[in-house]
């Protein structure tokens, strides 16, 4: 049988002397294989990078970059510098990556007056601009849902309404974004701990650690998270250069992103972009631990409603009627 003959030949070959000659042969073989794989890898990289790609080329430093929570200040400085350089080369824009830390004794909460919101969507636009969201494919953190007055049935809501004049009679408007829950289902399910809740209440994502499994997107009951299906495309002039590592820096493809309460602004005392843009003054933001803040007053005195409260997510976002 050919099988036996072949194996006999093989056995003979293997029984030959395994001396220095064979060792050198093996060594050259291994080196050749290593060089060959590098050449192939570089060729493959050329094939798999689309033209005019803003994708950052592979680097071992990026591959072995640590999790944000394990980075030392020097690591962070190096990483931020690298990101700034990469943004300059790939998008031609000079940006400044900051890393504001949570303020002691502060826990952020957002309150939104449903009596005042008239569905003009200026918050959506301002958020897109502030947070460098992709225009194509379109990513918008805030979804404004037009609801029938007298019902909170989200099934009957419409987030694709167009309006020559809002508010439309018989409707009210419910803007939804990440609620930065105190019991977040999204951080519970992340298999690599790429998303976690910070001390000031904001749920953040380390975009360089996220593997893009999208389990958090399946888990979120408020549809707050967005995925970068491809490299984000946004015009150069729309890029906001004041960026935070955990918030509005331009994300790579294949990672999840969401509203971060503009932590690069709010951790420095400013208001989030959506609040600044709201023309009716429906949005309120502040420190829930401060009894004199607006949000604390609202929680004490107004009829506050929490979306999907029965799911036990304990959001930091409160809707109220004035």
């Amino acid at each position: 049988m050919s099988n036996d003959r072949w194996t006999k030949k093989l056995k003979k070959k293997m029984e030959q002397s395994v001396g220095r000659r064979n060792f050198l042969k093996a060594l050259t073989g291994v080196t050749a294989a290593a060089c060959g794989t590098t050449v192939v890898a570089k060729a493959v990289e050329k094939v798999i990078q689309p033209e005019n790609s803003t994708e950052v080329p592979f680097s071992f430093e990026k591959f072995f970059q640590k999790h944000y929570q394990e980075m030392s200040p020097e690591d962070k400085k190096r990483v931020f510098q690298r990101i700034e350089e990469d943004t300059l080369t790939s998008r031609g824009v000079k940006v400044n990556i900051k890393d504001p830390l949570p303020i002691e004794g502060v826990k952020f909460a957002f309150a939104l007056s449903l009596s005042k919101c008239n569905g003009n969507r200026m918050c959506v636009e301002a958020c897109v601009k502030e947070n460098n969201q992709s225009h194509d494919p379109e990513i918008q953190y805030i979804k404004v849902i037009e609801m029938d007055a007298g019902s909170f049935n989200l099934e009957k809501g419409d987030m694709y309404y167009e309006g020559e004049s809002v508010p439309k009679p018989g409707k009210f408007y419910l803007p939804v974004q990440c609620h930065q829950c105190d019991n977040p289902p999204c951080t519970k399910v992340c298999p690599v701990e790429a998303t976690w809740k910070e001390k000031d209440g904001i749920v953040v994502i380390d975009y360089d650690w996220c593997i893009g499994c999208r389990f958090c997107m399946a888990a979120c009951p408020y549809e707050a998270r967005r995925f970068n299906f491809t490299e984000p495309k946004l015009p150069k002039e729309n890029i906001n250069p004041n960026q935070g590592y955990l918030s509005n820096r331009i994300r790579p493809k294949g990672v999840v992103e969401k509203c971060t309460f503009c932590l690069h602004r709010t951790r420095e005392g400013l208001n989030p972009a959506c609040l600044e843009a709201c023309p009716t003054g429906a949005r309120k933001f502040g420190n829930i631990l401060d009894p004199n803040s607006e949000v604390s007053q609202i929680l004490k005195t107004k009829r506050v409603y929490i979306l999907k409260e029965d799911l036990g997510t304990v959001p930091s976002f409160f809707y109220y009627f004035d």
Binding site: N3, N153, V192, G212, A219, R226
Partner: protein, 405 residues
């Protein structure tokens, strides 16, 4: 060490060198699909997951649907392991290794399906101990990673060890495999339970957030798995030296006769709870069975699946003479039940979970061409892997490959 190397070379030789025409045609076809799959996946690496038909609203699709179905196929190996080692059935003992190798191939396919679904598959190192941070024990996906890899190792070691011992003509040492066999019985149930928990633990998705999901998964695995094994053993009996005993076929038919109707019963329980309550939470089931707001992409599939299930049950229960041959109609029933369960547990479970979205949005999904070719490529890879492994295992078991000293 040298003997071990020769053992591998012999197996490789047996796998690649053959005169059998059907084997060559099968292998070539599968290789073609694998190459197509690789090309399709390169497109996905190049442009990102935008080449699929996924969206923020429906963020899991064909890849995860196939993954869910294949975990069930992997768990079904226990239906051969249990009779062999607990009920001491000798006829099943001849084929138990093939079942375990099928489980191994299925788990490899599962891992591949998850890898192609990731936005950054190279960041799997973020899960490894030491450098990575595996979200154990709060993340069910972390549990699934551990459980699936453990099952992979179990189904690599047990057949590997037993086959090597057979090759060497030595009696296997029971301490090296028997405790692991009993472990694998529980482990098989656990892999499918943990996969079900991925879905049933999410409060924001009421279509999935039901206690009956884990039992449904196991029952459908025990209905679809034996059907696949039946087809495999028919092929084995026809094309290889291993003459699978009729008792194995009768046992598998018996298992299908129990679990296929039970699967429909559990589905009926789910349907009753949804439609009788008729709350907001029924919208996903309404979309699947009747369409929602004019969108009815999945309606024909689920009704076909139900019809196939019922036809299969009728065929299996139809009284017939005892024969040594597996009639073609039984094979048709097996294929029909596999397809039925694939729709019900794959696309019919994953997609409606996202429709409508938690905020009432409605976006439909159907796999794109690239997704189709990647899925086909991975299925072909698994099929080819299993074919080679089974062929070699049968050769060792029948003595065609043995150690010549």
């Amino acid at each position: 060490m040298k003997t071990y190397a020769i053992y591998w070379l012999k197996m490789l030789n047996y796998a690649l060198v053959t005169k059998s025409k059907p084997y060559k045609i099968w292998g070539a076809t599968l290789l073609l699909f694998i190459v197509l799959g690789v090309f399709a996946y390169i497109q996905q690496i190049k442009y990102g997951l935008i080449v699929t038909n996924l969206s923020d609203q429906v963020s899991w699709g064909a890849y995860i649907a196939n993954f869910t179905f294949l975990v069930g196929v992997a768990a079904a190996a226990v239906l051969l392991v249990f009779p062999t080692y607990v009920l001491h059935r000798d006829d099943v003992k001849e084929v138990v290794l093939i079942g375990e190798l099928m489980a191994f191939s299925a788990v490899v396919m599962c891992i591949l399906f998850v890898l192609v679904d990731l936005g950054h598959p190279e960041r799997f190192i973020h899960m490894l101990p030491g450098f990575g941070r595996l979200g154990f024990s709060h993340s069910v996906l972390a549990w699934d990673v551990l459980v699936l890899n453990g099952y992979l190792l179990l189904n690599m070691h047990i057949p590997g060890y037993l086959l090597y011992m057979k090759y060497m003509g030595r009696r296997p040492n029971m301490w090296f495999y028997l405790p692991l066999v009993f472990l694998s019985i529980f482990w098989a149930v656990s892999i499918h339970t943990v996969t079900a928990f991925l879905y049933s633990g999410l409060g924001g998705r009421p279509y999935w957030n039901t206690a009956i999901l884990a039992p449904r998964f196991l029952v459908s695995a025990f209905a679809g798995g034996p059907a696949l094994l039946l087809i495999v053993f028919t092929v084995v009996r026809k094309f290889t030296a291993l003459k699978v005993k009729q008792g194995v076929f009768d046992m598998l038919k018996g298992i299908i006769k129990i679990f296929l109707p039970m699967n429909l019963f559990l589905l009926g329980c789910e349907v009753f709870t949804e439609f009788y309550t008729n709350s907001n939470h029924v919208e996903s089931a309404k979309y699947l069975f009747f369409g929602l707001h004019g969108h009815k992409l999945l309606v024909p599939y689920i009704w076909t699946s139900l019809t196939f299930s019922m036809i299969s049950i009728a065929i299996f229960y139809w009284p017939r003479k005892k024969s040594e041959e597996t009639p073609g109609i039984i094979l048709f029933a097996c294929v029909a039940s596999i397809l039925a369960i694939w729709v019900e547990k794959g696309m019919g479970l994953i997609i409606p979970g996202f429709i409508p979205t938690p905020l009432g949005d409605l976006v439909e999904y159907t796999p794109s061409l690239i997704e189709f070719f990647v899925c086909l490529g991975i299925w072909s890879f698994g099929a080819l892997l299993f074919t080679i492994l089974a062929r070699v295992a049968i050769a060792i078991q029948t003595g065609a490959i043995k150690n010549e000293v």
